[in-house]
């Protein structure tokens, strides 16, 4: 068992909308952080909901720790920490009461660890959650998710809406979490700068389909954008083009093998590419 999470051709359609997950497949290895990237409405949350069984998939397999998870699978749920975007907990609670509740839900709940996180995040223990700022509620959710000592952390847009300092602080916590070999994180976000800092793998989803899944190093060192003229573009091999975008006087071409492209197309400028640019190219660009 090499992967903590594995999705094989997962599909999900809704009766009341045209949106569907179309054979979503990706694998998250142990000890790794995967950034799950896509524009709003691309299917990130639907995929996470399928993983967590809050919605039912129509087809495919989802293996967590090598097994399909059922509603009754409490031991497996103990090992999964969740952080949703926004208010995760009812506003009538305060962190101490939340700890009391979580202690009754999770056998592995570590109140000492939770208090440590409250201290680290400067969160008051007895103040009601309804008085918390967005940043505070997110920190509280992360503290609660980590305090039951999960092996897999799933975060759905958990860093969106936070200021850069707070995001940096939280990303540091995530990096500490994956120091343990059997810990992994699936982090859905459209803030790609966060993922550039911490992710080992990036999976792109667009209109319910996985359009690319690769290691961050592969994206950083092997992917590139060729800036070429129309005539140069026409002469290119199809296999060198992942996606392309025509601009006024040039065509931007996303390639998956910069080294080969450099040797083949010596008069073309090839730039390094950010995750943001890859996403834009994959989403807005055309395919051959």
């Amino acid at each position: 068992m090499e992967h903590i999470l594995e999705l094989k051709e997962v599909s999900k359609a809704y009766r009341k909308s045209d949106f569907k997950l179309d054979k979503v497949s990706f694998r998250l290895p142990y000890g790794a952080i995967m950034g799950f990237v896509g524009e709003n409405g691309a299917g990130k949350t639907t995929t996470i909901d399928c993983i967590l069984n809050t919605i039912r998939k129509d087809g495919g397999d989802i293996l967590l720790f090598g097994k399909e998870m059922t509603d009754e699978d409490k031991a497996m749920k103990e090992n999964i920490g969740i952080v949703y975007d926004g208010d995760n907990f009812p506003d009538y609670l305060n962190p101490m009461r939340l700890s009391d509740i979580m202690g009754g839900l999770y056998k592995q709940w570590d109140n000492g660890l939770f208090l440590d996180y409250l201290k680290r995040f400067n969160l008051p223990g007895k103040k009601k959650i309804k008085t918390f700022s967005r940043g505070m509620t997110m920190k509280l959710a992360i503290a609660a998710a980590l305090a039951h000592r999960p092996k897999l952390l799933i975060l759905d847009e958990a860093t969106s809406g936070l200021d850069p300092v707070m995001r940096d602080e939280i990303l540091e916590v995530f990096l500490e979490f994956v120091q343990e070999e059997e810990h992994s994180i699936l982090l859905s976000s459209h803030i790609t700068s966060d993922l550039e800092k911490i992710a080992d793998y990036i999976t792109f989803i667009h209109e319910g389909r996985i359009i690319l899944t690769a290691s961050k190093n592969e994206l950083a060192y092997e992917y590139g954008i060729m800036r070429c003229r129309e005539s140069q573009f026409k002469e290119m091999d199809k296999e060198d083009v992942v996606a392309f975008r025509k601009r006024d006087f040039q065509t931007d071409v996303l390639t998956a093998d910069t080294k080969r492209a450099r040797s083949k197309y010596r008069d073309v400028v090839i730039d390094r590419v950010s995750i943001d640019e890859i996403m834009v190219m994959l989403v807005k660009g055309e395919r051959i």
Partner: protein, 219 residues
């Protein structure tokens, strides 16, 4: 399950605090007042029993403002346990209402004497309050799970409460027709038992129905 119960308790506590204080003051007022005309005591018994039950049910609304409903489903509890915790919470709130009603009825009777024609009248009042509460829960919970987020829970509560009152009135009408106008003590006790048993049975049947609905729901 313990965590779910604690959450339900905190949710109920947050909404029941004011209600409890009002009922406490009202109870003291009822006990202090002369009970020659027992309408105040009757009103108190019914409102405190049904009020606490409604409060327990309405506490669900508070957690819907956050993602807690979805979050809970990812915790090591089954959907069956989540539904079960709501049912138990209602029973605990009902019990609180019964205790409040019991204490202040006892105080009123101790201070001013027994205000009713027959001792079974008190039993009838309690059985009506308990039945309405149980029927209300039995109607409310399936509606709550069927309705989804887009329908205001308060509307369901009103529908459930009026349905429960209607059902109880219907059963009482049938009992009156069956037993005739001059009911014996045994018939009155039997009638009260029928009310409680029928409402408890419907409440019990509502539980697996809710579990079945909830298992099909997606959040």
């Amino acid at each position: 399950m313990k965590g779910l119960m604690k959450n339900n308790f905190y949710a109920a506590l947050s909404s029941a605090r004011v209600f409890s204080a009002i009922m406490l003051l009202l109870g003291i007022f009822v006990a202090a007042m002369d009970n020659v005309i027992p309408s105040l005591l009757i009103g108190y018994i019914l409102s405190v029993i049904m009020g606490f039950s409604a409060n327990g049910v309405f506490a669900l609304d508070k957690e819907n403002a956050s993602r807690w409903r979805k979050y809970k489903m990812t915790a090591p509890v089954s959907r069956k346990q989540i539904v079960g915790s709501y049912f138990i919470n209602l029973l605990l709130c009902l019990l609180t209402g019964i205790i409040f009603a019991g204490i202040f009825t006892y105080l009123s009777v101790s201070i001013h004497g027994f205000p009713f024609d027959r001792s079974t009248d008190v039993l009838n009042l309690f059985s009506v309050g308990i039945s309405i509460s149980l029927f209300m829960g039995a109607v409310f919970f399936p509606l709550f799970y069927l309705g989804g987020d887009e329908i205001v829970e308060a509307a369901f509560l009103v529908i459930s409460l009026f349905s429960a009152i209607g059902i109880v009135m219907g059963i009482i009408s049938l009992l009156n027709r069956f037993f005739g106008p001059k009911m014996t003590v045994e018939e009155i006790i039997l009638g009260a038992c029928i009310l409680i048993v029928s409402s408890a049975a419907v409440f019990a049947v509502s539980y697996p129905l809710c579990v079945a609905i909830f298992r099909k729901k997606e959040y």
